[in-house]
């Protein structure tokens, strides 16, 4: 493998002393207080894990999961963002070896100049490789590329006893696939070797088309998925009646140099996204409500081109529009918000429709409503993506009637053989989890063998008796 280079910005720093901190997820709900350690070496991690005490320990990346998986009330939390060195790069094969706290943003900055993009990107670049593996995240390319862990060649996992195991899908399929999607409960990922995606440019050629209703959205996605690596539909979730599920579909591929206008061809791999603004922490809860979200949904819908329109988009503009505003989650105010993401099999399209209908009729406002098609599942025991339709809503927690609505949705999703995403979950029930993830028992066995004392625990694992 290549050179020792590309150190992260904070890599040589010293270890700061542990602090007691109130932590929550990106939704800013259900905080708890834990002892936060910021290790800089695997020795420090091993020490923290083996002396964790009765409340255990869990890893944390950039805290972009919405609920409570990266917090551990009364116990220890390992903030791994200081372990952010890119350790090795092989420009021929596109493989990189990274520490767990390396973010996808950092990888893009480092690797795009060499013609490599991350194998999978979620809707924000500000997630760590550790978090990406532990949630086995997906992007707009799932139908083409699968989930993140399917691009992990190997990883080093620190176990409860302080020992380190190198896992590959071939050598240790069980522990590898229990760790991928395992929500930090098998151990601490210390480093990972990833297969990056070769690209000619840093631009996406995007076709955008307005769709009048849910059927059209679904038909358009099914049609364009075959020859587009990326696809996603954004819905106006408050539209009802004949407009139910209206929105716009974006289908894209990485642009080739030939696709670019002359000016961009000079530097086809340019990547300089900058947050354009930062959210102050002054918003009252309830600013995003039915009325304001209805207006925003409508404006967005009207802006989308009626006929298919092709344009060149930047990586930030296409994949991570919300990253342009730092701390945008503050706009929900102190009461916070939650994200609800489910998947149902393709043959359960009627369930999808019923849910979209009920949410619209009940006028539960969702700031972001995103529909996607998932390809085949990865072997991860608790990996979320399974073949079918996945829909994501963002709801302010104060929405009237929300608890009952979500419970009704849980039931429909379960009935249809679907499931909810643990990286977004902040409220599902342990019984539903059990029913939605048929391989949970098998996961528990692998976990029990790797961590017999249950050292790795999180608020989420306690809440769901994971």
């Amino acid at each position: 493998m290549g050179t020792e280079s590309l150190a992260g910005p904070e890599s040589a720093g010293r270890t700061s002393p542990p602090t007691r901190e109130r932590l929550s997820g990106w939704g800013r709900t259900s905080p708890s207080v834990a002892e936060v350690l910021r290790p800089r070496s695997r020795e420090e991690i091993a020490e923290a894990v083996t002396t964790a005490g009765p409340r255990g320990i869990v890893a944390r990346g950039l805290g972009r999961s919405y609920g409570d998986p990266a917090q551990n009330g009364g116990g220890r939390v390992l903030d791994l963002t200081g372990m952010n060195r890119i350790l090795a790069v092989d420009l021929d094969t596109g493989q990189v070896v990274v520490e767990p706290g390396v973010s996808l943003h950092q990888l893009m900055e480092a690797m795009l100049p060499f013609g490599y993009f991350v194998p999978v990107t979620p809707g924000t670049r500000h997630v760590t490789v550790g978090g990406a593996i532990a949630c086995d995240i997906h992007g707009k390319s799932h139908h083409a590329d699968g989930s993140f862990a399917q691009h992990v060649v190997s990883m080093d996992l620190l176990l409860a006893d302080g020992g380190v195991r190198t896992l590959t899908p071939e050598s240790e399929p069980e522990l590898f696939w229990a760790t991928a999607g395992g929500m930090g409960l098998t151990g601490v990922v210390l480093r990972a070797t990833l297969r990056m995606l070769p690209v000619e440019t840093s631009r996406i050629l995007v076709e955008t088309k307005r769709v009048a209703d849910l059927d059209e959205a679904m038909a358009r996605m099914t049609e364009t998925d075959a020859d587009h690596r990326f696809s996603v539909a954004s819905l106006d979730n408050l539209a009802t009646g004949p407009s139910l599920g209206r929105g716009w579909v974006e289908s894209g591929n990485f642009a080739t140099v030939a696709d670019l206008p002359a000016k961009q061809r000079e530097n086809p791999l340019a990547f300089h996204p900058k947050p354009v603004a930062s959210m102050p922490d002054l918003f009252p809860s309830g600013l995003l409500n039915r009325r304001t979200i209805r207006l925003m949904n409508l404006a967005n819908f009207r802006r989308a081109p009626q006929n298919s329109h092709t344009h060149i988009a930047s990586i930030g503009g296409f994949f991570h529009p919300l990253d342009a505003i730092h701390d945008w989650n503050r706009v929900y105010g102190p009461a916070g918000f939650l994200q609800y993401q489910f998947v149902v099999p393709f043959d359960a399209a009627s369930t999808l429709r019923r849910i979209v209908e009920r949410v619209a009729v009940q006028r539960a406002p969702s700031f972001v409503t995103v529909l996607k098609r998932f390809g085949p599942a990865s072997p991860g025991y608790l990996s979320f993506p399974t073949e079918g339709w996945t829909l994501t809503y963002d709801f302010p927690t104060g929405t009237p009637g929300l608890p009952g609505l979500l419970r009704w949705m849980d039931g429909k999703v379960l009935e249809a053989g679907g499931r909810l995403y643990l990286a977004k979950d902040s409220r599902m029930s342990a019984a539903d989890l059990e029913a939605m993830y048929p391989r949970l028992e098998a996961f528990r066995k692998v976990r029990a063998a790797a961590d017999p004392q249950g050292v790795f625990v999180s608020d989420q694992s306690r809440r769901l008796s994971l």
């Binding site: 109130r22 905080p31 551990n72 009330g73 009364g74 939650l338 927690t397 608890p403 409220r427 608020d459």
Partner: protein
């Protein structure tokens, strides 16, 4: 752990047979509370509470708990937190006493104060420490509007609640930054077993209404609630009445 919608998963009640507590536990069980522990003195009323809560699908158990047996509180309560996290502790026990009798019999007055104040202090300190170790959780303390200004007709009870109320406020402040939240509940006259046979006071309410207030307060992590809500403003006026005027008003109420 309370979930993102403020729903409670596990509840410990101190004074498990109290009408207000049972109404609250029932509402929580109807929502999402699966594990309920009723710490109480054994009684038929307690058995009935267990049956009722089980019928709502909760996993309910009881432990023997006597508020007056201060030295047992640590031993009885601390181990309950080892069995699994407790999201909410509801401190509901209390006695009204008999004002006239208690004035004549200082030892029976002491009984009221020891239950409502001393027993509440010892048991909530044990629970607060356990919650602090957990890094999350709420302690709900049933105070009373009587704590805001004690009247001639109930000053023994009222002063014990005033002590408890002040204690709970200080405890809440001292737990800042630990993840633990203390909520003080100040109901007006509530029609429960405690008040049967007593003349209804103005702005009286029901155990159901107090339970609703508690459930809603837990969702938004309120630090102090009044039930019914407007009593807050009434009491703030009452607190500022000059003594002679207050005596007249209180006299009318009996």
């Amino acid at each position: 752990m309370k979930d993102s919608l403020g729903s409670v998963q596990s509840l410990l009640v101190l004074g498990g047979s109290s009408d207000i507590a049972v109404a609250t536990a029932r509402k929580l069980a109807q929502d999402k509370t699966k594990r309920i522990i009723l710490a109480a003195r054994p009684s038929e009323r307690l058995d009935a509470a267990v049956t009722l809560l089980r019928s709502h699908g909760a996993d309910v158990r009881t432990v023997d708990f006597d508020a007056l047996d201060f030295s047992s509180h640590e031993k009885v309560l601390a181990p309950l937190f080892e069995e699994g996290d407790i999201d909410v502790v509801l401190l509901a026990f209390g006695v009204l006493g008999e004002q006239a009798r208690d004035e004549r019999d200082p030892l029976s007055a002491a009984q009221v104060v020891q239950t409502n104040y001393v027993g509440a202090v010892t048991s909530s300190l044990v629970c607060a420490e356990a919650l602090r170790k957990q890094g999350h959780g709420s302690l709900v303390v049933l105070s009373s509007v009587a704590a805001e200004r004690a009247r001639k007709a109930n000053f023994i009870y009222g002063s014990s609640k005033a002590g408890l109320d002040a204690f709970a406020q200080g405890l809440g402040d001292s737990l800042e930054g630990t993840g633990v939240h203390v909520m003080i509940v100040r109901p007006s006259f509530v029609e429960t077993k405690m008040t049967t046979g007593r003349p209804k006071a103005p702005m009286s309410t029901t155990a159901e209404a107090v339970a609703d207030g508690i459930v809603e307060g837990l969702r938004r992590n309120a630090e102090m609630i009044w039930v019914p809500a407007p009593v807050r403003f009434a009491m703030s006026a009452v607190r500022h009445l000059p003594r002679p005027v207050f005596r007249k008003v209180a006299e009318k109420q009996g």
